[in-house]
């Protein structure tokens, strides 16, 4: 009898008992390519549908099949959706990692495991639930070659029973996952869920403290990954030319975009596409096509990751120096070189800010959520065209490839801003124009598009030295005037970027600054510091580079400011050092994590506690 195998456990502490409702992390350990993604998504979605704040993180290898992979779902009644270090509920499906996974658990955790692995022998302070997956899958899936895939749905049923996840919601989630067209597959998988539930009901008496209870914290929200959110932003920004070269973790961004464009951007009258998507031969070609297209008037973009950013360096300098718009999404991953291509990092901040040679600097957006992915893509296109310069949207693998609970996206109310483009009619009125003359004092000249039907429309674009009429020039005054204009433009950009998110705490002497996905760990860490150490902090989350006065004020107001970085070299802090006065630099402290997993609150808390001597 499986029940006989349940080991005695230490009584859970009062604190653990208290927090066990809608506050735990489930980790499913499987083998890459075994089809566990469907089971994991259904699990996450069922919790979401029960109104419980939830997040899902896929930790996967750079491999198509065969290597270990882990999926972590966190339910949090307080709405924490960052990664939590501790695993409360392990589903051990992978013989290769099962022992190590079990040994890493804190006492009191629960383990659902494939019975033949006999994990219960490893420890006596855990709640073990053995499940004979192979025996259960046979009757519900007569087709042997499908069993490997269907087998995983069994743990959804087991977990539903053990945690109290409503089966109606599991079924709804499963039907959503398969869609109406795959009703047969949905039936097959539902059979497996029920088999798991029934088995658990008959054989697995509950011994752990974790459970779920219906809440109302997800009403109106959506589940989406950051890459799809960027894709939607691009489509509603009116993107017309998309180029790309496949690279993890950005490929799904363009694949999502292709899917949406096919549905929503075919001209109804003609049946023709109002966009072009081109897979380039490499990232050099992708950014080249983006610049060529933008030069000729398109809203153009590409998406890539760190290695691609490196390759785009030369062309980015041309875009900067020749005043050409471009939107580049960098879904950051662990470098340098190939690095850990399926792990997350914010390691391209400095290289992207200053990408290329000579004096170059580029605006960057730091989305922290799918909703910001969406809105910042729209902002990035407007900014790129208004200021005629390459703009970078700095997402990361955690944001881009994981599913997130998100507020629904608002329809853009502002009309699309195409910037200073002169038409043939403008030229007829004006007689001519000087391409790089700073007429308006914002560092941005007027441009014309090739094909403009006027004899005075043409100008010559070059990456070599040029004067304000776009003529070739090696004169020092022409060169310096142009570089000064570009510096002026960068200053104008500063005033057109989203202001940081600010939470000033009058009782705090210490501030915390972060950007992008570091927000989840940082915000949770502030609560930990307050609740566990009575330590108050102020908080500023940067949304864009170059930074503005808000950041300087914030640092000035506090005695010390911790800058949270997901890289080894404190790159966000380094960018601040580039612009700060020495007395402000002296206030900066660094908290860094660079292990490739999404940043967790405990890591931030522990480091601040150590440095503060709390």
């Amino acid at each position: 009898m499986p029940t006989a195998e349940v080991s005695p456990i230490s009584p859970p502490s009062a604190k653990a008992q208290q927090s066990a409702i809608n506050d735990f992390t489930i980790q499913v350990a499987t083998v890459n390519g075994s089809g566990s993604q469907t089971a994991n998504t259904v699990l996450m979605r069922a919790l979401f549908q029960m109104g419980i704040p939830v997040s899902g993180k896929n930790l996967f290898p750079s491999n198509i099949a065969g290597l270990p992979t882990w999926f972590t779902s966190r339910a949090s009644k307080r709405g924490y959706i960052g990664r939590k270090k501790e695993i409360d509920f392990l589903v051990a499906m992978n013989a290769e990692t099962a022992q190590e996974d079990v040994l890493k658990l804190d006492p009191g955790a629960a383990v659902v495991y494939d019975e033949p692995l006999k994990l219960n022998a490893l420890r006596s302070d855990l709640n073990f639930y053995p499940v004979p997956f192979d025996k259960l899958v046979g009757p519900v899936c007569p087709e042997p070659r499908l069993r490997k895939l269907v087998r995983n749905m069994i743990y959804d049923g087991v977990l539903a029973r053990l945690l109290g996840i409503e089966m109606d919601e599991v079924r709804k989630a499963l039907l959503k996952q398969f869609g109406a067209r795959k009703a047969k597959a949905a039936d097959l998988n539902w059979g497996a869920v029920e088999a798991g539930y029934d088995f658990a009901e008959r054989n697995l008496p509950k011994t752990d403290p974790f459970s779920v209870r219906r809440m109302n914290a997800t009403a109106g929200k959506i589940i989406i990954d950051g890459n799809a959110a960027c894709a939607l932003g691009a489509m509603f920004a009116g993107v017309t030319v998309v180029t790309w070269y496949p690279i993890t973790p950005s490929s799904s961004l363009v694949e999502s975009l292709i899917g949406y464009l096919k549905r929503f951007r075919i001209d109804k009258e003609t049946g023709k596409a109002t966009y072009a998507v081109v897979q380039g031969e490499d990232e050099l070609a992708s950014i080249g096509m983006v610049l060529g297209a933008a030069w000729a008037g398109a809203r153009s973009m590409t998406a890539t990751s760190g290695p691609g950013i490196s390759l785009m360096s030369e062309f980015t300098g041309l875009g900067y120096y020749a005043d050409i718009p471009a939107v580049v999404v960098d879904v950051q991953r662990v470098g340098p070189s190939t690095g850990l291509p399926t792990r997350t990092m914010q390691g391209d901040l400095v290289s992207t800010a200053l990408l290329s040679h000579g004096d170059t600097k580029h605006p960057m957006f730091f989305p922290s959520s799918p909703r910001e992915c969406y809105s910042m893509m729209i902002d990035a296109f407007d900014l790129a065209e208004r200021f005629q310069t390459p703009v970078f949207v700095m997402s990361d693998l955690d944001l881009g490839m994981n599913n997130w609970m998100s507020d629904a996206f608002p329809y853009p109310e502002k009309p699309i801003e195409r910037g200073k483009v002169l038409s043939a009619e403008d030229l007829a009125r004006m007689g001519g124009f000087a391409r790089y003359r700073d007429v308006d004092g914002d560092g941005v000249g007027y441009r014309t598009l090739p094909g403009t039907n006027h004899p005075a429309a043409a100008y010559f674009t070059r990456g070599s030295g040029h004067n304000d009429r776009a003529g070739y020039s090696e004169r020092e005054d022409d060169y310096m005037n142009n570089m000064d204009r570009l510096a002026r433009k960068f200053e104008s950009i500063r005033g057109h970027l989203p202001a940081p998110h600010l939470d000033l705490n009058s009782r705090a002497h210490v501030g915390v600054v972060c950007a992008g996905t570091s927000r989840y760990a940082t915000e949770e860490s502030r609560d930990q510091l307050r609740e566990e150490y009575g330590f108050e902090t102020s908080y500023l989350r940067l949304k864009a580079y170059p930074f503005g006065e808000d950041l300087i004020d914030f640092v000035r107001r506090h005695e010390r400011v911790y800058v949270i970085d997901q890289n080894r070299d404190a790159q966000l802090l380094l960018l601040m050092r580039l612009e700060f006065e020495p007395e402000l630099i002296a206030k900066l402290r660094s908290v860094r994590y660079y292990g490739g997993l999404p940043l967790d609150a405990r890591t931030v808390t522990d480091e601040i506690v150590r440095q503060e001597g709390l």
Binding site: K221, I222, I223, I224, L232, M235, F236, A237, T240, V241, T243, Y260, R265, D267, T270, K272, A273, T274, Y275, A276, V278, G280, E281, L284, A285, S286, I287, G288, M289, V290, L291, G292, A293, A294, W295, A296, G297, A298, R299, S300, E314, L318, F409, Y411, I416, T448, L449, P450, G451, T452, N453, H454, P455, A457, A458, Y459, F460, T461, R462, G463
Partner: protein, 346 residues
């Protein structure tokens, strides 16, 4: 006393003088083959009556790539980065499918640093005229071998090339260009006919023009010198181009001339010289290039022409108006679209 009136200025079919097709003063060496090519471009666009503002000029880096500044001042130009003009041109043509693209590159720009972009441009059959001003050396960096230098060719320093040359025309024929030609900057008549055919062609035209570098590669022992070309040039046919708008009737001697009608209705007349050459036969084109090279000759003329293959933009099913200038009503889906997507994600 007689009064003189200035003769009416000569204009083309759209009423523009040749001056409207000129560019800035060249800064290349006197006698450089590239300058002759710029002259041919000016003449051909003028004679074909192409609106200069509908043209977009592209180039990479090198002596050749400077030359778009020396023709068609009324056309937008883009002197980009080394070897990467194809991607810039591709992007621009995606944004505005009605742009008339012309790229001028060199042998270093195309066959070395730019070989990747060159090859993928061939595969896409981007509609533009792509000229390789081929002199076998890097000029701007003072005379190093390029990847088109022939085996045994000698530099001024006495260094001899031992490496296999890349024949851009062979690549072009194999990989999807639909008009492939080779010419010599010193052969005005042939180059004019080829250029006009390329202007009339709806697809990618690759024109490899042997264009001697008078400073670094015009000496004894060079295989890209004026003297070498005058001796080894083997034209495959005598070319005549009859534009679609011309009402001149051309008498064609029977059996001696092939006639090919181009996309815009223009006609290309290919008069037989030594051999009977069919430029629509891809295998024969490649064989001829190998054979003439082995014999120490440089085959010039229209090497290959395929008027049937669709070009890249046709494959993309794009709206007719340029993508770049579509109104917001066409590029931003309506509110209901977002509502629908949000509902699916709930």
């Amino acid at each position: 006393m007689s009064t003189t009136t200035a003769p009416p200025k000569k204009t083309n079919r759209i009423g523009l003088e040749v001056a409207s097709y000129k560019g800035g003063r060249t800064t290349l060496c006197a006698g450089c083959g590239h300058n002759a090519i710029s002259e041919r471009i000016i003449e051909c666009f003028y004679e074909m009556g192409i609106e200069p503002w509908s043209v977009a000029k592209f180039s990479g880096i090198g002596c050749s790539s400077k030359s778009p500044a020396y023709f068609l001042n009324m056309a937008h130009g883009f002197n980009s980065v080394h070897g990467r003009a194809p991607s810039i041109a591709t992007g621009a043509i995606l944004a505005n499918r009605h742009l008339f693209g012309i790229t001028v590159s060199g042998d270093g720009d195309t066959a070395s640093i730019g070989i990747g972009q060159f090859i993928h441009m061939l595969r896409r059959n981007i509609r533009q005229v792509y000229i390789i001003e081929n002199n076998g050396v890097y000029g701007l960096t003072k005379g190093q071998f390029s990847a088109t230098a022939d085996i045994g060719a000698k530099l001024k320093t006495g260094a001899v090339n031992d490496l296999t040359p890349i024949d851009c025309c062979v690549q072009a024929i194999q990989l999807g260009a639909t008009l492939v030609a080779r010419s010599f900057s010193g052969d005005k008549r042939q180059l004019q006919a080829i250029l006009k055919a390329a202007i009339a062609h709806h697809g990618l035209s690759i024109i490899d023009v042997i264009s001697p570098c008078v400073t670094f590669n015009d000496h004894e022992g060079s295989t890209k010198s004026y003297a070498y070309m005058k001796e080894h040039d083997e034209p495959l046919q005598e070319l005549d181009f009859v534009p679609a708008f011309s009402d001149i009737t051309v008498e064609i001697p029977e059996g001696e001339v092939r006639e090919i009608t181009l996309h815009d209705g223009s006609r290309l007349l290919l008069k037989k010289l030594g051999r009977d050459y069919d430029p629509t036969d891809r295998m024969n084109a490649l064989r001829t290039l190998y054979e003439t090279e082995a014999a120490g000759h440089v085959a010039t003329g229209i090497l290959y022409l395929d008027s049937t293959r669709r070009h890249f933009i046709d494959h993309l099913n794009l709206v007719d108006e340029p993508l770049g200038t579509q109104p917001e009503s066409k590029t931003r889906p309506p509110r209901e679209a977002l509502d629908q997507i949000m509902e699916e994600l709930r």
